[in-house]
C-alpha cells in the first residue's frame, strides 16, 4: 500500500498502539494578546475566551490605563467585548454552562456578564463570612463555583439560578492548600459538589458534611486534575510523578515518573484516558499505559480539556490535541489493510479511472458494510473538509454495492447534514470548533442555544430548521436582540416587525420579548407585545412591571391561578393607598376572598379594618367568635392544669363572654344574622350561668359544656333546682327535657330516679322511651315491670312484657286487653306443658269462648 492521498498520518505521533494528532483549529484573529500575563478562562466545548490582567504577575504596564480590562473573544480570537474592570481584585473567573462569564472578586462579590460584556442582573455575594476572610482562589464549573478563602476554608454555590452560599466542611488547615480540584455534582454519588484539596502530605475529600483524608501516600501533591467524566483524578506528586486514581481514591490506576523536579504549570486531561503536563516550553502527553509523547512549544499556551481531547490556545494559534479516533486510524494508518482503508483506496483508484478499483472492491466484498461504516464514521470524526469529502466519497462508492439492510441509507444523509452544520460552526467567523464527539456530548439543541446567545440568529435558525427543531426560541431571542438594537424605531412599527416573524411560529413566547422590551425601557412596546401573549403566568408579572396593575389583576383572575392573583394583590397592597386597594377588592369578590384567606392568617387587624370599612360586620363578628373559641380552649387547658382552682382563671372566663357579647352586637348590625346574634348572646349567657352554678355548687365541671351536657350533669348530680333553672332560662322544650333526663338517669342506672320520673306528671313523650332506656341499660326486671305497668295501652303493655321475658304479666295483660293473637304467641313461646303454659291456654280458651 502506498501513501494514501491526503493522508494526515505523517503528522500523527504514535503513543503505544495509538496515535495522537495536533490539529490547528484557528490562527488567532487577535494580535495583541500576551497569554502569560493574563488570567484566562476558556469555556468548554469551544466556547468564548475571557481574560483579564493577572495581577499576581509582574507586568510592565504601558499607556495611561491602570485599571485592568476584561476582554472576551471567540475561540477564533475575534473580539466579542472588552470592558474596564473597576471592582476589587479578581480572585477567579470562569464560564457557566450558559456561557455567561462569572468574575469573583476577592471581597466575595460574584459578577455575571454575558459573552458580549453586558453586566447581568444576577450578581450575588458569597456572604459576609467569606468576604471577611477574603477569597484567594476560585473554580467555576458549569453550574456552580467553589471558592477558597484566606482562612483556608471553602465555600460553594451549587445553583447559580438561586445562589445560596454554603460552607464546606474543610477546617483546621493552618497553611494554604497546594491546590484543589472540583468534582462536579453531576459526577458525584451524592449529587453534591465534592472538592479535592491537596494539603500537607495528602488529599482531603471535602463536601458539605465531612472532610475525609483520602490517605494518599505520595504527597505532597502539587497539581490535581479531574477527568472530564469525573471518574478519574490525576495528580503531580512531590517526587515528580504523575499518578492517576479513580476519583474516590479507591483504586490506584497508573504512575509515570516525569524526571522533573519542578511541578508543571498546568495539568489537563486529554479526553478521559490521557493526561497532558505543561511546562513553559514543553508539553508532555502521557497515555493510559505509560506511553508518552513530548511536544515542544514555541509560545505559552492555555490548556482546555474537552471530552475527546485538549485544546491549546496560544498567542497566535488555537490547536486541538486529541487521540486519533479509531475509524480515522483504520483508514489512514500507514500500511492499514482494514476494510475501510481498502475501500478508500478503491475509491481513489476509481477516481483515477483505474480498473484496479474493482479488484480492490471485490477483495473486501464480504466486509463491505463494515468498510462503509468505517469511512462514514471517519468522515464524521475528521476535521479537514477535503478529507471529509474524500471519506464520504469512499463511503458512497462502497454503499452502492451494499444492500439496504446491510447499511442504512439515511446514515450517510444524517452524517452529511451533521458535517455541514459542524463545518459551518467551525468557520472562522463563527468560531465554534466542535468535533462530532463534542457536538454529540453537548447535544444539538444546546448548540443552537449557544448560537442564539452569541447572536448568530440566522445560523441558529437554519440549524434548528434543518434538524426539525422548533424555531421559536431562535425567533424570540432574535426579537429581543432586535428590540435592543432598534432603539429609534417607533413602538408600533417594531411590534409589527416582530409579530410578522413570530406569527408563523405558534410556540413563540411574546412575554419573553415583552420582558426584554421592558428591561430596556420600552414600556409601550412591552404593553403592545403582551397583548399577544396567551400564558398568564408570563403575562401577569410583566404587566405588574409595567405598572398596569388593574390589567394584571384581570388577567390573573381570568387565569384562575390563585398564585398569580396573590402576586398582584401583594403588589397592589404595597403600592396603592388603602382606600383605593379596598375599592379594588370590593369590585372583585374572587380577589377579595383570596385576600381575606391570607389576612385571616397573617394580618387579622387588616382584615378587620377591611370588613369594617366595607360593612361586612358578620366577618368581624366571626373573628370575635373565633377568638372566643381560642380563648375558651386556652381557658379549658388552664383549668384542667389548675385542677379546678377556678379563681385564677376568672378574668379569662370574662374575656370569653366579652368577645361573645361583642360578636352578638356585630351580628345584630345586619338583619340577615339575627340567628347568629341570638346564638352568640345565648352562648355568653350559658357561660355566665355555668360559672354561677359552679360557684354555687363548688363543682368545676360545667363551664364549656353544651347546654344539653350541662343539664345532664345537673341531673346526674341530682341538682334539680339548677336543672329547672336552665330549663327555664334557655326555654328547653318539655319533650327535650324528658328525653334528656330519662336517658341520663338510665345511663347512670338510677332506677329509683327513673321510676320516680316516670311517675311524674304526664310524660310528653309517653312511657315507651322509658321502657326502651331501662332495657337498654339493663334495669332489673322489677323496675322494667313497674315502668311497663305505666303504659296506657294494654296490647302494647303485653308486647313489652313479652319482650322483657315477663310472660305471666304479659299473659294477664293480653287477657285483659282481649288480645288472643298475643296469647297464641305467648303459648308458642312457653309451650303447653308448663303450669304457666296451661294457664295461658285456659286464658285463651276463655277469651275465645267468651267472644263466641
Amino acid at each position: 500500500m502506498g501513501s494514501r492521498g491526503l493522508s494526515p498520518a505523517g503528522e500523527w505521533e504514535a503513543c503505544g498502539d495509538r496515535f495522537y494528532e495536533k490539529h490547528e483549529l484557528y490562527t488567532m484573529a487577535w494580535s495583541d494578546v500576551k497569554l502569560d500575563q493574563m488570567r484566562v478562562a476558556c469555556a468548554r466545548y469551544g466556547g468564548p475566551i475571557a481574560m483579564v490582567r493577572d495581577d499576581r504577575k509582574l507586568v510592565v504596564v504601558s499607556g495611561g490605563i491602570t485599571k485592568p480590562v476584561v476582554r472576551i473573544f471567540t475561540a477564533a480570537g475575534e473580539t466579542l467585548a472588552a470592558f474596564v474592570w473597576d471592582h476589587g481584585r479578581v480572585a477567579g473567573l470562569g464560564w457557566t454552562n450558559e456561557e455567561d462569564l462569572l468574575i469573583v472578586e476577592n471581597g466575595g462579590e460574584v459578577h455575571m456578564y454575558s459573552m458580549h460584556g453586558q453586566k447581568l442582573p444576577r450578581s450575588f455575594s458569597l456572604g459576609s463570612e467569606a468576604a471577611a476572610e477574603r477569597i484567594t482562589d476560585c473554580v467555576v464549573y458549569g453550574d456552580g463555583l467553589v471558592a477558597l478563602t484566606g482562612a483556608h476554608r471553602l465555600w460553594t454555590v451549587s445553583n447559580l439560578e438561586e445562589p445560596r452560599p454554603q460552607k464546606l466542611a474543610l477546617s483546621g488547615l493552618t497553611e494554604p492548600p497546594h491546590c484543589f480540584a472540583v468534582i462536579e455534582p453531576r459526577h458525584t454519588l451524592s449529587g453534591c459538589v465534592e472538592v479535592l484539596v491537596a494539603a500537607r502530605d495528602s488529599v482531603i475529600v471535602v463536601d458539605a458534611d465531612a472532610a475525609n483524608d483520602a490517605g494518599v501516600p505520595n504527597g505532597p501533591i502539587t497539581k490535581l486534575s479531574v477527568a472530564p467524566n469525573g471518574q478519574f483524578v490525576a495528580a503531580f506528586t512531590g517526587e515528580g510523578k504523575l499518578v492517576v486514581w479513580t476519583a474516590d481514591f479507591g483504586k490506584f490506576l497508573s504512575e509515570f515518573a516525569t524526571q522533573s523536579d519542578t511541578p508543571p504549570e498546568q495539568v489537563a486531561w486529554c479526553g478521559t484516558d490521557s493526561v497532558v503536563l505543561y511546562w513553559e516550553d514543553i508539553l508532555l502527553l502521557v497515555g493510559p499505559y505509560g506511553d508518552w509523547v513530548k511536544y515542544s512549544l514555541e509560545e505559552p499556551a492555555v490548556l482546555v480539556t474537552e471530552c475527546d481531547g485538549v485544546r491549546l490556545i496560544s498567542d497566535t494559534t488555537h490547536e486541538l490535541l486529541r487521540r486519533v479516533p479509531d475509524c480515522l486510524a483504520d483508514v489512514y494508518r500507514v500500511g492499514s489493510t482494514a476494510p475501510g482503508a481498502l475501500l478508500y483506496d478503491a475509491r481513489e483508484l476509481f477516481d483515477q479511472q483505474n480498473a484496479k478499483a474493482d479488484e480492490g472492491l471485490r477483495s473486501i466484498v464480504a466486509s463491505l458494510p463494515e468498510a462503509v461504516a468505517t469511512c462514514v464514521d471517519a468522515a464524521q470524526a475528521e476535521l479537514d473538509e477535503t478529507r471529509q469529502v474524500a471519506l464520504m466519497k469512499a463511503a458512497c462508492y462502497g454503499r452502492a454495492f451494499c444492500s439496504a439492510e446491510a447499511f442504512p441509507r439515511d446514515r450517510i444523509v444524517t452524517v452529511c447534514r451533521q458535517l455541514r452544520i459542524l463545518n459551518a460552526l467551525r468557520a472562522h467567523g463563527i468560531g465554534l470548533p466542535l468535533t462530532a464527539a463534542q457536538a454529540e456530548a453537548l447535544a444539538m439543541p444546546v448548540v443552537v442555544s449557544r448560537l442564539i446567545n452569541a447572536r448568530r440568529h440566522l445560523l441558529a435558525l437554519r440549524i434548528a430548521t434543518l434538524l426539525g427543531m422548533g424555531p421559536e426560541k431562535v425567533l424570540v431571542h432574535w426579537a429581543c436582540t432586535k428590540v435592543s438594537a432598534a432603539s429609534d424605531v417607533p413602538d408600533a412599527a417594531l411590534r409589527d416587525a416582530i409579530t410578522a416573524r413570530l406569527a408563523g411560529c405558534p410556540g413563540a413566547r411574546y412575554a419573553t420579548v415583552a420582558a426584554h422590551a421592558q428591561a430596556v425601557g420600552r414600556k409601550g412596546l412591552a404593553a403592545l407585545l403582551l397583548e399577544h401573549e396567551t400564558c398568564a403566568a408570563e403575562q401577569v408579572p410583566l404587566l405588574l412591571g409595567l405598572g398596569e396593575e388593574e390589567r394584571a389583576l384581570g388577567a390573573a383572575l381570568d387565569s384562575g391561578d390563585a398564585d398569580l392573583v396573590y402576586l398582584v394583590l401583594f403588589r397592589m397592597q404595597r403600592t396603592l393607598p388603602l382606600q383605593q386597594f379596598l375599592a379594588v377588592l370590593a369590585a372583585r369578590p374572587a380577589a377579595r376572598s383570596l385576600f381575606n384567606a391570607y389576612c385571616a392568617q397573617m394580618e387579622p387587624e387588616l382584615l378587620e379594618q377591611i370588613n369594617m370599612a366595607t360593612g361586612v360586620y358578620e366577618g368581624v363578628a366571626a373573628m370575635r367568635v373565633r377568638e372566643a373559641l381560642a380563648a375558651s380552649a386556652k381557658l379549658g387547658r388552664a383549668r384542667s392544669a389548675a385542677n379546678g382552682a377556678a379563681r385564677a382563671v376568672e378574668p379569662a372566663a370574662a374575656e370569653v363572654i366579652r368577645l361573645l357579647d361583642r360578636a352578638s352586637d356585630l351580628y345584630a348590625q345586619t338583619k340577615e344574622h339575627g340567628f347568629q346574634s341570638r346564638s352568640a348572646a345565648e352562648w355568653a349567657r350559658l357561660r355566665r350561668v355555668q360559672a354561677e352554678l359552679e360557684a354555687e355548687t363548688g363543682n368545676a365541671a360545667l363551664l364549656g359544656l353544651s347546654l344539653a351536657d350541662t343539664l345532664r350533669q345537673c341531673v346526674r348530680l341530682g341538682n334539680h333546682r339548677a336543672a329547672a333553672r336552665l330549663r327555664a332560662d334557655f326555654k328547653v322544650s318539655d319533650r327535650r327535657f324528658w328525653w334528656l333526663k330519662l336517658k341520663t338517669l338510665a345511663a347512670a342506672k338510677d332506677w329509683e330516679g327513673l321510676e320516680v320520673f316516670a311517675r311524674e306528671k304526664k310524660s310528653p313523650i309517653g312511657i315507651e322511651p322509658f321502657v326502651a332506656a331501662a332495657k337498654q341499660h339493663g334495669a332489673p326486671d322489677a323496675t322494667v315491670s313497674r315502668i311497663i305497668a305505666r303504659l296506657p295501652d294494654g296490647k302494647r303493655k303485653a308486647e313489652e312484657y313479652a319482650a322483657a321475658g315477663l310472660l305471666q304479666e304479659a299473659a294477664e295483660c293480653a287477657a285483659r286487653a282481649r288480645d288472643s293473637d298475643m296469647l297464641s304467641k305467648l303459648q308458642d313461646m312457653i309451650g303447653t306443658v308448663s303450669p304457666l303454659g296451661v294457664a295461658v291456654g285456659q286464658l285463651k280458651d276463655r277469651l275465645q269462648s267468651g267472644s263466641r
Binding site: P506, M602, K743
Partner: protein
C-alpha cells in the same frame, strides 16, 4: 402503609404510570438533599403518601424518621437535613415558619438545613409568609408537582379535602386550577380527549382553564382524539349535593359510612369487595345471617384478607341493625320521596335528643333543606338552635358556613327543583333488586344518584341526553365542546358536532368523569355498574378532588378553631 402496592394497570387506562411518575418525582425530591434526613409531613400528605411509596423506599432514600407538622421546636434528631412535604397552604407555611423560628431559638446550635417542598407547587403566598416571618433565608423551597393519585384501577383522586368548602363557601377556586393542571397532565400522558362535556360553575371554570392551558402549551399540547380517552365529563359537586347526604347502601359505602375508609384500606377493600359483592350483597344485609357470610367466606379461603372482611362485615352489620340506623335511613327515604316533612323534622329532633352523631343529624338537615327547597321557617331556627343546645354553641360558625354553602338554608317559597329533577331524571325507582340490579338506584336502595344519572344521560346522548329546560334546573352552565386544533396546529375549542350514534356500539368508549368537590363510594359503584351495562358501552375512569361521604364533606366545612375548642372540651 401497604407492603405491596397493586399495579392498577388492568383498567381502561394503565393508571400505574401515574403512580410511577409520582414515585419518581418523590425519589428525586428525597435525593435532592444528601445524607440522612427527617421528613416532616402535613397530615393530609402523610395519608396518601403510603399509596405512592412504601416505608422501606423512604428508608432507602435516607429518611430516618417521619414527623407530623407542628409548631413545636424540633428535638434532637441526629441528622441535619429536614425536609418538609406539605400542601401549599397558608396555614402550613405559617406552621413551618413557626417551627423553624422556634427551633432556631431553642436549638440554634443544631444547624438544621431546611428544605420545603410544596404540593403541588410553591406559591407566592407561602413564600411571602416565609419572608414576613423572617425565615426565607433558612429555607430551600421546591415543589412536588403531584397530580392525580391512583386509588384503584379506574379511580383517581387529587386528595384535596377542602375543595368543596373552598368552592362553595369561600369563593376560592385554586383547587380547580389543580384539577385543570392534573387533567392536562393526564391527557399529556394518555392522549387528549376529543369531547369535553360539563355541568356546573366549577365545570365551566375548569373548561376555560383547560383551553387556556392547552393554548399555553401551543403546539406541544396533547393531540386530541385518537388516544385512548374519548371523552371527559366535568361535574360540579354543587350540581348534586343531595347524594352525599344520603346513607350509602353498598358494601364499600357502608364500610365507609360506619368506619370511614382511610387511605390505604380503601383500594384493597375495593378489589376484594368486588368479588364478594358479586355473590353477596351486604346492602340491606340484615336479612342475611352472618353464618351464611362466614360459610361463603370459607369458600374463598384463597383470598387474603378475607378474615379482615368478615370482621368488617360484622361491624357493619352491627351498625346497620341498630334502630338508629334504620331511623336515619327511613327519614332519608321519606325526604327523598317528598312526604312526611313534619315527621322527618320531629325525627331529626329526636335523634339529637338521643345523642345521635352530630354529622348524621346535619346530613339529614341538609338533605331536608336540599330536597324541599329550604327548611320551612318553623323548623329552621328551631332545629339549628337544637343543634347548638345539644352539641355546643361552638358550632354556630359552622351553621353559617353551611348556609353560605347553600346546604342548609331557609325556605323562601316555591317547591325547589328537586321534585322536577326527580321526575326528569327518574331518581326514584320502585322495584330495586339488590341481588341482580338493573338500575343504578340499587346503591341507595331505590334512589338513583342525580350525579350518575347526569353521566348516564350524557353518555347515552346525543349531547346531554336531556332537554335544556331540565339542565337549567341545576346550577351553572352546561356545555359540550370538541377539543381540537386549528390548521396551524394551535389548540382551539369547537362546538360539538352531532355525532352519528350508529357507529358507537363498535368500540367501547373510555370516558373520564371528573367530580369536582368529591365523590362517594356509592356513586363510584353506580358508575361502575353503569359501565357494565351493554347499552352504555363505556369504560369509566373516575377522577375526583377527594373520596368523600356526607360526613367527611360536612367535617371539611368545620372551622379548625372549632375542632381545637371541642378537643379541649373533651379533655
Amino acid at each position: 402503609m401497604a407492603a405491596i402496592l397493586p399495579n392498577y394497570n388492568e383498567g381502561p387506562l394503565a393508571l400505574g404510570h401515574l403512580r410511577e411518575e409520582a414515585r419518581r418525582l418523590l425519589i428525586e425530591l428525597l435525593d435532592s438533599r444528601r445524607g440522612k434526613k427527617v421528613l416532616v409531613l402535613d397530615p393530609k400528605v402523610s395519608g396518601f403518601l403510603g399509596l405512592l411509596a412504601e416505608v422501606s423506599l423512604l428508608k432507602e432514600h435516607g429518611i430516618e424518621q417521619l414527623l407530623h407538622l407542628s409548631t413545636e421546636p424540633l428535638g434532637d434528631l441526629g441528622v441535619r437535613n429536614v425536609i418538609y412535604l406539605v400542601r401549599a397552604s397558608i396555614e402550613n407555611a405559617k406552621q413551618i415558619a413557626e417551627q423553624i423560628k422556634e427551633t432556631n431559638r431553642v436549638r440554634a446550635a443544631a444547624g438544621f438545613e431546611y428544605a420545603v417542598y410544596f404540593l403541588p407547587r410553591r406559591t407566592i403566598a407561602c413564600e411571602r409568609i416565609f419572608q414576613e416571618e423572617g425565615v426565607y433565608g433558612d429555607i430551600v423551597a421546591g415543589e412536588f408537582p403531584l397530580g392525580f393519585i391512583p386509588f384503584d384501577y379506574d379511580l383517581l383522586s387529587l386528595e384535596l379535602g377542602t375543595a368543596y368548602r373552598e368552592l362553595v363557601a369561600e369563593g376560592d377556586r385554586s383547587s380547580l386550577y389543580g384539577v385543570a393542571r392534573a387533567l392536562t397532565r393526564l391527557q399529556a400522558l394518555y392522549g387528549g380527549a376529543a369531547m369535553l362535556k360539563g355541568k356546573g360553575p366549577a365545570a365551566a371554570a375548569v373548561r376555560s382553564l383547560l383551553l387556556r392551558m392547552r393554548q399555553e402549551l401551543g403546539p406541544e399540547a396533547p393531540i386530541t382524539g385518537g388516544g385512548p380517552i374519548d371523552e371527559i365529563i366535568l361535574l360540579d359537586r354543587e350540581v348534586d349535593a343531595v347524594t352525599p347526604m344520603c346513607t350509602q347502601l353498598t358494601y364499600e359505602g357502608l364500610v365507609d359510612e360506619t368506619m370511614q375508609i382511610k387511605y390505604a384500606v380503601g383500594p384493597q377493600l375495593g378489589q376484594r369487595a368486588k368479588s364478594i359483592q358479586s355473590d353477596y350483597k351486604t346492602s340491606k344485609a340484615a336479612e342475611r345471617s352472618l353464618a351464611e357470610l362466614k360459610e361463603f367466606a370459607s369458600q374463598l379461603k384463597a383470598l387474603p384478607n378475607i378474615q379482615r372482611h368478615i370482621g368488617l362485615a360484622e361491624a357493619v352489620n352491627r351498625a346497620i341493625a341498630a334502630p338508629a340506623f334504620r331511623a336515619r335511613v327511613s327519614v332519608e327515604q321519606s325526604l327523598l320521596d317528598g312526604h312526611g316533612l313534619d315527621a322527618s323534622a320531629e325525627s331529626i329532633e329526636e335523634m339529637m335528643c338521643n345523642e345521635e352523631d352530630l354529622f348524621v343529624v346535619l346530613r339529614l338537615m341538609c338533605l331536608l333543606s336540599l330536597t324541599q327547597g329550604g327548611v320551612p321557617k318553623k323548623y329552621y331556627d328551631a332545629l339549628r338552635k337544637e343543634v347548638l343546645h345539644s352539641y355546643g354553641h361552638e358550632y354556630m360558625l359552622m351553621l353559617s358556613k353551611l348556609q353560605d354553602a347553600g346546604l342548609l338554608v331557609k325556605h323562601e317559597g316555591g317547591k325547589g327543583n328537586f321534585t322536577a329533577l326527580k321526575r326528569a331524571f327518574r331518581l326514584l325507582v320502585d322495584d330495586v333488586d339488590d341481588k341482580n340490579p338493573t338500575d343504578i338506584a340499587y346503591v341507595f336502595s331505590g334512589y338513583a344518584p342525580l350525579s350518575v344519572r347526569l353521566v348516564e344521560a350524557a353518555v347515552k346522548g346525543p349531547g346531554w341526553g336531556v332537554g335544556e329546560e331540565v339542565l337549567r334546573l341545576l346550577p351553572g352552565p352546561s356545555f359540550e365542546v370538541e377539543q381540537t386544533s386549528d390548521d396551524k396546529g394551535l389548540p382551539i375549542e369547537k362546538p360539538a358536532q352531532d355525532r352519528k350514534l350508529t357507529g358507537v356500539s363498535k368500540k367501547r368508549r373510555v370516558v373520564v368523569v371528573v367530580f369536582m368537590g368529591g365523590i362517594t363510594f356509592a356513586e363510584i359503584a353506580a358508575l361502575r355498574f353503569l359501565g357494565s351495562q351493554p347499552e352504555v358501552n363505556c369504560a369509566f375512569v373516575i377522577a375526583t378532588t377527594k373520596l368523600i361521604n356526607g360526613t367527611s364533606l360536612l367535617e371539611s366545612i368545620v372551622d379548625d378553631s372549632i375542632k381545637t375548642a371541642k378537643e379541649v372540651a373533651v379533655l
